[in-house]
Symmetry: C2
Amino acid sequence: MSEKQFVKEIADINENFTQWYTDVVLKTELVDYGPVKGTMVIRPYGYAIWENIQKDMDRRFKEAGSKNAYFPLLIPMSFFTKEAEHVEGFAPEVAVVTHAGGAKLEEPLAIRPTSETVIGTMYSKWIQSYRDLPVIMNQWCNVMRWEKTTRPFLRTSEFLWQEGHTVHATEEEAMEETIKMLNVYKDFMENTLALPVFTGRKTEKEKFAGAVATFGLEAMMLDGKSLQSGTSHYLGQNFSKAFDIKFLDKDSTLKHGYTTSWGTSTRMIGAIIMAHGDQRGLVLPPKVAPIQVVIVPIAVHKGGVIEKAKELEAMLVKAGIRAETDTRDMSPGWKFNEWEMKGVPVRIEIGPRDIENNQVMVMRRDTLEKTAVSMDNLDKTLEELLEVIQKEMFVKAKERRDKKVVEADTLDGILSGVEAQNFVKAGWCGCRECEDKVKEVASATARVMCDEEGIPEKCAICGKPATHKVIFARAY
Amino acid sequence: MSEKQFVKEIADINENFTQWYTDVVLKTELVDYGPVKGTMVIRPYGYAIWENIQKDMDRRFKEAGSKNAYFPLLIPMSFFTKEAEHVEGFAPEVAVVTHAGGAKLEEPLAIRPTSETVIGTMYSKWIQSYRDLPVIMNQWCNVMRWEKTTRPFLRTSEFLWQEGHTVHATEEEAMEETIKMLNVYKDFMENTLALPVFTGRKTEKEKFAGAVATFGLEAMMLDGKSLQSGTSHYLGQNFSKAFDIKFLDKDSTLKHGYTTSWGTSTRMIGAIIMAHGDQRGLVLPPKVAPIQVVIVPIAVHKGGVIEKAKELEAMLVKAGIRAETDTRDMSPGWKFNEWEMKGVPVRIEIGPRDIENNQVMVMRRDTLEKTAVSMDNLDKTLEELLEVIQKEMFVKAKERRDKKVVEADTLDGILSGVEAQNFVKAGWCGCRECEDKVKEVASATARVMCDEEGIPEKCAICGKPATHKVIFARAY
């Protein structure tokens, strides 16, 4: 086979970002399309990223006092109607089981689009006294939301996620939990995914169906669009009243609890791809990369090269680095392309001359810089290098983003801002009409509010006094 | 509140084992019933056992060359009809989605009862050449089988499991994989769950719908019944032909691959409960116990006790032991009952006099033995003790089981054997009629064949020449 056959073409990242994304996710074998429209198969290379995400997040959740549990996939349809806003938000997207075990069911069952209703039902049974509070549980599971337009990781009818659900005795404590988990997410995204995010409260229009307040994490993709990467909801007593979650308080009166929920999903993998990628393909942050270091032996016919490569691999693996040697019967050039496309943070090249000189060539995927490095203490050198890459990827992403955040004080300004692929900060009067106008004129939505930066005098849309400062952007 | 209120009553293990099981799983808060009939909620204490199981198994799978992936929950109903035996076996148990996104679907979709069909479909797309083989993937997920009679962990309409699916170039290699994974399971069950298992091939009647051969792992519960704890299937070319999994072999001819699948589920938690439990409740093997050591401070009003307990806890946690101190405002006696019921392998009692004597009292849950132990090197002492408990629990379970394995050479012998709560080994001619007869007369089924022990001369049922030696038992 000629090498030509192996060149995997990826659409131009600047000219057709959408196609670039599709090419990258398919050609790097992160995902494939499932047989049912709108579903995805997460292939081993993609799933390994998810496993690394899970491991890191799960540790953080447990440190934050959460315990994992598992609640049923199927929820009686009647549960959704108990919270008015919730049913309105989710009923149109639900997949419904009507038959099972060869017979028609008495009541149709929904495949969970989210689990507030079924978890609320169980909490009402388990919680009796203030001594039982707070309850802080999380589950890792699949959910289903029937979508018309789908794209792998970004929007699929089934996806994997985690959903935390908590109950507290007071409003203050529940709000504290909401913000605490928002910050757990933020820290994870910045330090593990190298993804700078804006956090803040969502508008009424954009909040979760049934929440009192939703807080979102918004990351900027390379095309200037925003990707909502996680949300944390303060649910007040909406669900505790709908599902009768009551407790006997210290003062011997029966009270409804205050609940929160918070979630992130496989969508974050889409964010990694679209925030860090380049024309060659993926650029993965070391902390979630399935392979952190790939070793490519050169001129293997000379003998001793593969042995030395394997020796280095063992040394790196021992140091806790996810390292692999590519011994396949392909040319080094083909392998370079392949692993660059797959976003492996560091490539090591080792040939007979390198062995003579007690060195290897080290290539950084993020900067494409190549340097000669001594084989002595290679494990330490690479440990440090991976940390440097992790940090610099965040800095680079943040600098790139910060340059693309502008301010506007007119609707025109918002329009030209988002057309130039920016996030646009602007004053807003707080009314739904103005928010709808931005959507209509600029195809942009209110991502989060950032009132803490200081509220502008006027609403950029209608000119009336502003009550909020909002980040507007086009969004996935 | 009086202590009486906290005494949790558990049915007599000898008189009513079924009720004992239900009491234990509910009162220890391993599970609860979900709102939809036949579903279960796995509560944090139960889910933590599952997490420990997953961690241990997942490591073994990866060492055996498997990679994790995720395939869609929903499978077009038409997929099932492609393999004749498979559809016959699973169609009656399937839950069906007929509506989604507010509209009726063109084709009804099954919630996966197992994923051979959808994974086979993807494999046929991914596999082209012998270079692509073997393919060895596993997924951790939920599955759904609509059951009429359900019991938490043992049989529920939804459960959690892992399913491995592999493709090989030759029959020999696929059969090797089938047996290799059977042995991975066996080693896990014996060393991690302290559960002795019989392994062997299943009869035609008992095999997986669509398999050429199924190998099972059968564990004896305290009531002498068998619990199938895992299965490994050699699928031959049944699924590769049905789903067109073909590869271009080295000899340039197109061939169908040979596939296997293997699975274990949350059912294993039921096995742990029913193989090791006693009148006081759970007895958990240290390797999967959510809490390995619980520290109960005594006479806390004397001061310094809780501090010392916390100090010991920190020391144990640092040594990698899952230790917790129970500082709740309850009496020591209440706590002893509670943690014994919950099956924590080791309890430490520490009071003012213990501190004076630089010692603690250590109670083993499995033997109920209590001894004074020096505080010096308590981490080392307990590390060793946990290992001893793990090993002795296996030995004890194996001795108990081995005493209850008998041989029979008549149908009457099989009947009296299983009525006395034994596993019964007997010769079998290999015909379905004799197998059905055992079911009819003794309510027992062929668990696995153990021909390697030597085949008896005659079939215990019909007296004709035997072709197999079979373990008959009543089963969950």
